[in-house]
């Protein structure tokens, strides 16, 4: 017996219903959980501060110095040479550019926000800013993968998949990890952004197709199959499968497969009800901006409202993308050519819906048990792209993200960049640290959430990651 390695026997025997690599999870519990549902909730390691996550990904690189990181020194030195070496991505470095947007302090906390984001400015007392972000890449896709999975390469499980794997879900009739892509287009790399990687397939993010009644592929029964026919088929299949299972008593895979069909049937009922917004009040819809004349804003608003409905129903991890594929015409925050034109357009799609989501969660008491995380893959240069340019290039050395909700110190500004917003100089933070902190809020120690793959104990935080104690309440 000693020679046998049963480290992950459950993963195999229960056909991918995970849990086994969670060191703290008792075997019996794991077995019971695996048989009950692939998304069965699993116990946390520490008392969890948060039950759920809503992750808003603003793609393209949001300029920190034009949104949340106010730099008076840039105004003073506007038009001057930066005196710094920029390893710019595409262009020749230009000169320092003051923000073309007006900054003001807001709320009791007095946090600075530019006039790009008037709605979010009203929420600053609920936000926890990290102004000292640093990324390993200044190339969109690697940086986006890093933000979502902890690796610059594609094919590693995203944070949502890890959370689904580690904690399951509170709702067994919906997926544990739901993705709401930008209504304009999928991000670059498509579904790789919410991949389960080497984790069991059940933990893959389920992307909802925007604005459709059947947001999940193959969810709807083909139209030529009547409900009666479908029902009769399900019953006959159950009978056939039961007879087959009798010949193999104790085979959990057979049982799990029978259960999967039951879940599928539940999902067929629950998802259309979930995406049906007619019972939301006109005031709610309007607050989010579902009636906004800009189609991109209205579509994104719908996703924000859906995010609340998903969270409300116990979905563990909801990811909302603001921004689609890279390239031209720009449908994300990649303001190379003209920061005013680009960021105004993007802010218009994002500001009101996200602010409404925060207020709605708060009003319903959901913000106390939900972490809302807002990230972008990197910031933008404090200099122009090219001499006399109007845009800003990619910048990985210092930028801003924020979080709100359960377990965080509200109204806090953590870390800082230098006087022109170039380097993160105070309490620098990497995405590994953000992931470690996110897991900690959910009651999971990031170094112990592991999955063995090709001979390596893989983690969301690779071999890095420190919990950012300074932002925890």
């Amino acid at each position: 017996m000693n020679s046998l390695n049963r480290r992950d026997f459950l993963f195999r025997s229960a056909c991918g219903f995970g849990g086994v690599a969670l060191g703290w999870l008792c075997k019996e519990e794991a077995r019971a959980a695996a048989l009950a549902s692939p998304y069965a909730p699993k116990p946390a390691m520490f008392p969890a501060r948060a039950k759920r996550v809503i992750h808003i990904c603003a793609l393209g690189g949001v300029s920190h110095v034009d949104t949340f990181d106010y730099k008076p020194e840039l105004e003073r030195r506007h038009g001057q040479d930066s005196g710094r070496k920029f390893d710019t991505f595409f262009s020749q470095p230009g000169r320092l550019l003051k923000s073309p947007f007006a900054f003001r302090q807001y709320g009791a906390s007095g946090r600075w926000v530019s006039d790009l984001l008037p709605h979010l400015a009203g929420c600053v007392d609920d936000l926890t800013f990290i102004h000292s972000m640093h990324s390993k890449s200044s190339n969109h896709t690697p940086a986006t993968f890093l933000m979502n999975s902890g690796f610059t390469f594609n094919g590693f499980p995203s944070a949502g998949a890890w959370v689904s794997y580690g904690l399951g879900s509170e709702n067994q009739n919906l997926p544990a990890y739901v993705v709401l892509p930008d209504p304009r287009q999928l991000p670059a790399g498509g579904s790789i952004n919410w991949t389960n990687g080497f984790l069991p397939a059940v933990h893959q993010g389920v992307a909802f197709r925007s604005g459709e009644r059947d947001p999940i592929p193959d969810l709807a029964t083909p139209s030529d199959i009547s409900p009666a026919r479908r029902e009769a088929s399900v019953r006959l299949l159950e009978k056939l499968n039961a007879a087959d299972a009798a010949t193999h008593p104790g085979d959990s895979a057979l049982a799990a497969r029978i259960r999967a069909y039951e879940l599928a049937a539940q999902m067929q009922l629950r998802v259309p009800e979930l995406v049906e917004l007619s019972r939301e009040t006109a005031a709610t819809k309007s607050a989010y901006g579902l009636d906004h004349p800009n189609a991109a804003t209205a579509g994104f608003a719908r996703n924000c409202l859906l995010a609340r409905r998903l969270s409300e129903r116990g979905v563990r991890f909801v990811q909302i993308f603001n921004g689609g594929q890279f390239g031209s015409p720009r449908i994300n925050w990649d303001g190379h050519e003209d920061i005013v034109e680009n960021h105004r357009k993007q802010a218009l799609t994002m500001d009101q819906p996200v602010a409404a989501l925060l207020r709605d969660l708060k009003q319903r008491g959901l913000l106390d048990e939900t972490v809302v995380l807002w990230t972008t893959e990197f910031g933008r240069t404090p200099i122009t792209q090219g001499i006399d340019g109007k845009g800003r290039d990619h910048h990985q050395h210092g930028f801003t993200i924020w979080a709100a909700g359960a377990g965080l110190k509200p109204g806090l500004a953590f870390g800082a960049t230098d006087e022109i917003g170039y380097d993160a100089v105070e309490n620098p933070v990497e995405f590994y640290d953000v992931h470690a902190t996110l897991l900690r809020l959910l009651g999971v120690e990031h170094t112990k959430l592991v999955f063995r793959h090709n001979g390596v104990d893989r983690r969301l935080t690779d071999v890095h990651g420190e919990v950012i104690q300074g932002i925890l309440a």
């Binding site: 020679s3 046998l4 390695n5 049963r6 480290r7 459950l10 195999r12 229960a14 056909c15 991918g16 048989l35 390893d87 991505f89 890449s137 200044s138 190339n139 969109h140 896709t141 594609n154 094919g155 670059a188 790399g189 579904s191 790789i192 991949t195 080497f198 069991p200 397939a201 389920v206 999940i216 592929p217 193959d218 969810l219 083909p222 026919r229 088929s233 006959l236 299949l237 056939l240 499968n241 087959d244 299972a245 193999h248 008593p249 104790g250 085979d251 959990s252 057979l254 049982a255 799990a256 999967a260 879940l263 999902m267 067929q268 594929q325 390239g327 063995r452 090709n454 001979g455 104990d457």
Partner: protein, 921 residues
């Protein structure tokens, strides 16, 4: 060892990682690095069932140690379905089943095995396993997921290699260094698709500036994927863990890692030229090799006596036959831009007056010759032009965007274009060479800066000699579209009937030719020799039939943006902590030091020869004394037959990997495969699938249950008291949860390809055409950036592209087919030695509602209607086809009733969803 204890051990190892760091002397004693010797086959005690297959002796001995005995042999139906899916990936037909059931010969099963191994379907099935291991897909992945049009020949290479039972050592050598070790076999070059099979970061390796750190990082990471693929697949070693520091658990130093980086320092992933005809292949590869030597300024070649003779011959021929040019007498000459062209006494045309930004000259003339083989365009200086010309731009330059020749024959309605080839010029401006005037791209052009103020000439050959009917007018079109008045100031045209080559010599070479041979420096001799050889190579290559391309590891390929061949291998430094900003010493090529029987650093005669580096690694991998390779492959094969390997981590034999369940059997198999089977896969399959172990039933044997009861283990009670309770087999773990001891066969879910191909076969739709470009089972539209939009729902399931085996599906790395993905088909972004075997809601939804299943269920129903007459007979036929068994009387009644009420296709869809279809016993 209990599972919890193992976890604890793992944690301790992590914590003490620094102190545990690579003490080679102790780690080298790890089982995987020990020399291979065949252990004796265990002698079974009296009472055990006699076995003729050594595999069974090893398995039975271990079972006996644990008080277990094997399960009985599976029935023939089960056995045939199992071995058919296993070896060819398809279910047996009812006819094959009937033949097997009625075959009374003692070797009926062995004959089935031979039939399956001889089937072309076998190669398709096992190639797909290898594609998983290599993370093969047909797009780059990353953000710019561009299509690799020429990736598929490697897939066909794999299919053929398995079909032909290529010995394993040769198979390995071909995929690492086939071009070097088997230069006369074109397929050995195609095999290099293995090294290039994984993702490639186009934006970082082709598009961004070459001087960025991102580019440098990307090169190291690109090689990291190559060496990881090679070392995990062939040697089951996680060498990539030593990129930033010495491996924390295995005896792999950072130096070993960077030595492997150096092995691949001369190759990129690119379209590589090969020829299906071996003779042509060899000829072309020799020519390309010579061209590389010329490019690298190899003086032993350029200054050799043989080359000198070739140069002398060439000079003599050239002197004896100077090209005779006849100036054409232009009759009409038009400037579209409104410039004035005036014919001069020497036959040239001088431009004056209006100087437009862009212009096109159209010049017509009768031919002075009855046959023409080439054209010369002279651009002459003139005092009236800026800086004496020959261009009209302020600096005297011009840009000829495109040059065309047309022939207007008497009586013809329109002029016809005459194809031109082999442009040459006496001087090319950097990046504005003469070839750009003939590339069909009006954005590129020929120029002569900074050599303004002097005459220049360009020569174009006709692809075929042109014989002119009397009265034919030649029409010359000179497009000059660059802008800013980059126009030719004084052109003159001439034609010749001399046969090619007509090439005009660059001025600097003409100057060398003008010198007496004795007065030429070595530098000058080399320059001239390089030109003569290049021209000779170019002509020889042009005479060969057009080549094929395979996306593979390559060191000689057409540049694409800033992706260019490295020429000599790139320098590899050891990177401190893996950081590009901390390069340490230069590392030379080599491999793992822990295989002590073999030298770890390669002694290579020529450090510039990148192929020699890969050849050395290929030889190291396939050496008889490399225990990793031989253990690795038999374990990988075992995994596919039994559900998991004797070591359950096929890509990791290190200390953090699995421990062999049957170490003696593993070694016995490795030695047997290497020495007795001579690396024959088919021999190995035959050994395993004819074993009694493989032929066991998949039900849990009574001995497992009774032994569990004896040991007071909980699961067995549950099994006995309530056999229908959905208790996991995992409840047997106290005894053997994973069935690693093989007291019975494991029941497995069909993989994605088996489901897909079985649906097609059962529906009567399977198209067995072999090979060629992949079937694109999606709607393809351009995306905003490089990655296209791919819509699988818009694919016409009934079309021809939807009927072949799934190994021929086009594999999109970042946009995989959701149906196949739901069934755990990997997307090619990670090495996948073992697939997940998951059961998910998405999978249930896909099998229930996906159009592929729905449409093929209709085809299945149509087939039943064709092949059976009564509703009951159709039900019986359906069960036969889908499950390989007869339907019970009750099932016939029930399904016939269901079909009557809801349609036969609905029944068929249901059968495709049944556990009995989706699992193999």
């Amino acid at each position: 060892m209990k599972w919890g204890a193992r976890m604890m051990g793992t944690l301790l190892l992590v914590i003490s990682a620094v102190s545990a760091c690579a003490d080679v002397s102790t780690n080298a004693d790890h089982w995987a690095y020990r020399p291979l010797t065949a252990p004796p086959v265990p002698l079974l005690s009296a009472g055990a069932r006699p076995s003729v297959n050594p595999v069974d002796s090893f398995i039975a001995a271990k079972l006996a140690e644990h008080g277990l005995s094997p399960a009985p042999e599976a029935d023939r139906r089960t056995l045939l379905r199992r071995v058919s899916f296993d070896l060819i990936g398809l279910p047996p037909t009812p006819e094959e089943l009937r033949a097997f059931l009625t075959d009374t010969s003692t070797n009926a099963y062995e004959r089935v095995v031979d039939r399956l191994l001889a089937s072309p379907r076998y190669g398709e099935r096992w190639a797909r396993h290898w594609m998983d291991a290599a993370h093969f897909a047909e797009t780059h992945g990353h953000d710019q997921d561009r299509i690799r049009t020429n990736a598929w020949p490697y897939r066909d290479y794999l299919i053929a290699s398995f079909k032909d039972d290529k010995p394993y050592a040769r198979f390995v050598r071909e995929q690492v260094a086939g071009d070097v070790l088997f230069p006369t076999d074109p397929q050995a070059t195609v095999a290099l698709g293995f090294i290039a099979a994984g993702p490639w970061d186009e934006s970082s390796l082709r598009d961004i500036r070459e001087d960025t750190l991102d580019r440098q990082v990307a090169r190291y990471l690109d090689r990291d994927d190559m060496l990881t693929t090679v070392m995990q697949t062939f040697a089951s070693t996680t060498v990539q863990c030593a990129r930033c520091h010495d491996h924390k658990f295995d005896p792999v130093s950072q130096r070993d890692y960077y030595a492997l980086q150096a092995v691949f320092a001369g190759v990129d992933r690119a379209n590589r030229v090969f020829d299906a005809d071996p003779q042509v292949h060899v000829r072309r590869q020799d020519l390309m090799h010579e061209r590389r030597r010329v490019k690298q300024n190899d003086r032993t070649l350029l200054l050799s006596a043989e080359t000198s003779r070739a140069v002398t011959d060439w000079e003599e021929r050239r002197a004896a036959h100077p090209v005779a040019w006849s100036t054409v007498d232009a009759q009409t000459f038009v400037s579209v831009g409104g410039a004035t062209l005036t014919k001069q006494a020497d036959g040239s045309l001088l431009a004056s007056g209006t100087r437009p930004d862009r212009d096109t000259y159209t010049i017509s003339a009768p031919s002075p010759l009855s046959t023409i083989c080439g054209i010369r365009l002279e651009v002459l200086p003139d005092a009236s032009l800026p800086h004496q010309g020959p261009g009209r731009n302020e600096n005297g330059n011009f840009h000829l965007s495109e040059f065309q020749l047309l022939a207007f024959e008497p009586g013809a309605k329109a002029a016809r274009e005459i194809p031109l080839a082999n442009p040459s010029a006496d001087f090319d401006q950097q990046d504005w060479g003469i070839a750009r005037a003939l590339d069909g791209d009006e954005k590129t052009a020929w120029g002569i800066h900074p050599r303004e103020g002097e005459a220049h000439q360009a020569v174009f050959e006709l692809k075929e000699p042109l014989t002119l009917t009397p009265g034919t007018m030649l029409v010359f079109v000179l497009k000059q579209l660059h802008g800013e008045g980059h126009l030719i100031g004084r052109p003159r045209l001439a034609v010749t009937d001399d046969r090619p080559p007509l090439r005009v010599l660059p001025t600097e070479l003409a100057a060398i030719v003008a010198l007496p041979v004795a007065r030429r420096t070595d530098e000058q001799r080399a320059l001239l020799a390089a030109d003569v050889l290049n021209e000779r190579i170019r002509q020889a290559l042009a005479a060969l039939p057009s080549p094929s391309l395979v996306y593979a590891a390559a060191n000689d390929f057409e540049p694409d943006a800033s992706l260019k061949p490295s020429g000599v291998p790139r320098i590899v430094n050891l990177l401190k902590r893996g950081e590009i900003t901390k390069p340490m010493e230069v590392i030379s090529p080599g491999t793992l030091s822990c295989v002590t029987a073999l030298p770890a650093r390669f002694e290579l005669a020529d450090s510039a020869d990148e192929g020699a580096r890969r050849a050395a690694l290929a030889k190291w991998l396939t050496a008889k004394d490399n225990p990793l390779t031989w253990r690795s492959i038999v374990n990988r094969m075992w995994h596919h037959h039994f559900g998991w390997g004797l070591v359950d981590t096929p890509n990791d034999f290190g200390r953090m990997g699995g421990t062999p369940s049957h170490p003696e059997l593993l070694d016995w198999l490795a030695v047997w495969f290497r020495d007795d089977a001579k690396g024959s896969f088919k021999g190995f399959h035959r050994l395993l699938v004819t074993s009694a172990t493989y032929r066991q039933a998949s039900v849990i044997s009574k001995s497992v249950i009774s032994e569990s009861v004896k040991q007071g283990l909980p699961h067995s009670k549950a099994l006995i008291t309530d056999a229908l309770v959905t208790v996991s087999l995992a409840r047997t773990p106290e005894l053997d949860s994973e069935n690693r001891l093989l007291a019975h066969m494991s029941r497995v879910r069909l993989d994605a390809e088996c489901v897909h191909d079985a649906v097609l076969q059962i529906s009567g739709r399977l198209d067995l055409r072999i090979g060629g470009p992949s079937d694109r089972q999606f709607d393809l539209q351009p995306g905003i950036h490089v990655t296209p939009r791919v819509d699988y729902t818009k694919f016409e399931v009934d079309g021809d592209a939807g009927r072949r085996r799934s190994v021929y599906r086009f594999l999109f790395r970042t946009l995989p087919d959701p149906f196949m993905e739901a069934l755990d088909c990997p997307a090619g972004d990670q090495l996948t030695p073992a697939r997940n075997n998951s059961v998910t809601v998405q999978q249930a939804l896909a099998l229930w509602n996906n159009a592929f299943v729905a449409r093929n269920a209709e085809h299945f129903a149509a087939r039943l209607e064709r092949e059976a007459q009564t509703p009951e007979a159709r039900t019986r036929r359906a069960f036969e086809l889908a499950f390989g068994r007869e339907a019970s009387a009750e099932e016939v009644a029930e399904f016939t009733g269901h079909a009557r009420q809801y349609g036969l296709a609905n029944c068929c869809r249901l059968l495709f969803n049944a556990n009995e279809f989706v699992f193999v016993n």
